[in-house]
Amino acid sequence: MNAPQKAKDLAPLPYRILDDEEKVRKAVAIIREKAAESRMFKLAMECCTKCGACINACHSYLGTEDPYNIPTKRADLVRSVYKQEIMPLSGVLGKVAGGIGVSAELLEKWFTYFYQCNQCRRCALVCPFGIDTAEVSIMVRQILAELGMVPRFTVGIVKNMANTGNNMGIAKPALLDSCEFLEEEMYEETGIKIRIPVDEEADIMYVPSSADFFVNTNTMIGVAKMYHAAGIKWTIPSEIIEAANFGLFFDEKVMKEHNRRLLDCAKKLKAKKIVQGECGHGWRAARMYTDGLNGPVDVEIRHIHEEAAYFIARGIIKVDPEKNGDIVYTYHDPCNLARAGDIIEEPRFILRHVVKNFVEMTPNREENFCCGAGSGLLMEEIMETRMKLGKVKAEQVKKTGADYVVAPCSICKAQLPLVFEYYNLPVEMSGLMDLVGKAIIL
């Protein structure tokens, strides 16, 4: 049982820390409310037949071997309360059917195990009824938030987002300094003045991940080179250099606010198209949730891989796979990009053009396994769990025999190098736009 540390101060979230008695008193009413707000959650509570198809589909269970990480058993932690308190004939059938009441210990268990779920949705894929434990996990984390139980790590990110418009807490002067530095780097490398325009009016508003301005700088460079080569005016908004929308994982209000900020910036910069950078769940939030959160909208929402694939297919940019050498590349499908976001074939199309040797890992595409940090499980204090959650991924990568893993999602990028080191896999890793940047002919 390795749980994230809980935040002691929830600001700026609109919730407060509650004592145990108050938590227990409020929990059932909140569950009831969430069941009314999400048909998928309600159906997950009521219709699972316990067929067990999800057992070996879940990397969290396979890696930790903890039965509470079996999707349906994880959901049972809340389902048991639902049966007891909310199901028709509750209480009567409840106890026979394994129903129990809420207790402070149970809520702690929720906190532990719903923060060992990566919300990867692989269980929804294999479930004959499409029961989505990610949706259950999102709802339970929401319930926990309203009961004042949020990881310290997550609150830190929400705070940075509120203050600076990105998860890392990069203010505009630092951003401008970083962009200038990257422009110099590109000039040194290519002899061409390639810009990273900030806050300029342009048709395309590109939303990077803030981690691209700390560790994954080559992703940003790849994007800048691509738009330069395509001759298209683009910009990044200093008010939201963050594709990641952590609200998706645990709080609808946070998600909505992030999304609104995104749309406001697009309006301000007169952008016709928002292009999301290499961030898995951020893409899901923007692509799948915008209409429901702040829609309808008249701005087009695209992923950077859609753009890159289009430019390559139409000959708008030229790439030379030789530049990425003879090594063997494999591709890790970020869950929220593939299963939950429809960016499945584009990255493969791009890869086949920018590298010479590309091998698939098994399973792949919508069947791929999570890196083990999905849904924001990047807390230092649960490192042991994170490594277990990454076990299946490490095995998958090992079997490919590849030298290099392409993982276009900042969470995957933060998690995978640690996993590879832990499991002694001598492989390199980067995003996909990094390789586009290297292969591009300017």
Binding site: A35, A36, E37, S38, R39, M40, F41, K42, L43, A44, E46, C47, C48, T49, K50, C51, G52, A53, I55, N56, A57, P67, I70, T72, K73, D76, M87, P88, L89, L93, V96, A97, G98, R121, A124, L125, V126, C127, P128, F129, G130, I131, D132, M288, Y289, D291, G292, L293, R302, E306, E307, A309, A338, R339, A340, D342, I344, E345, E346, E366
Partner: protein, 238 residues
Amino acid sequence: MKHFVVGVLPYLTFLILVFGLIYRIRGWYASKVKYQLNLFPAPDTPGGEILKEILFFKTLYRFERPLWVMSYGFHLGIFLIFIGHIAGIAFAGHQFTLFGATPEQSEKLSFAFGMLAGTLAFFGALALLLRRLSGQVKQVSDPWDYIDLLLILAIVTTGNAMRTLAPVELFAVKKYFADLFSLRPINYELPTAFVIHYFFGQILLMYLPFSKLLHLAGGLINKAIILTGDGKAKLLKL
């Protein structure tokens, strides 16, 4: 007691079943679908995929082949039993005369289909029960999962018994249901085997709307959410 089971309970069962179904399914539809929750790759409309799911149990076939064999056999058996009960009772075994068979041939065919359906359902349920009792699936099962299967096994077993060990005259059953549907009093005896089978059947129907046995509806409603695309065009067709 016997009279209650055949003369009174059926009306109660009917009311509970109908209002139970309305109550439960309305409850599901009252709950919102605020966002696009589909999984990719997803078709623009879920119809085709849903049909494949209903007809072939596509997802299980794709990911859990051994379970698919058990589950598909079991459900196919149940489906045939459902159809068989309606046709077999309405025509008292002579339903195949509609397709040109003689009454004797029809009775034989009816018996054969009954055997097939009853065998599939029985061994299907038994296999599912044994699977549930073993290893991994055991740890996700709760008492009610076993009770569901045992109830179905009881119904199927008594049903099979009525076809083999203690045959029941189909004309008598037909007359009984005609009387029941016309609200005429049931003042005659019915075979004990039939009454037992019928009792368990009614328990199942009353319990159905309030249990996870309604996965046949809930599962499809959920699958429809997962499978409904939003029709947003891709930048590039790949």
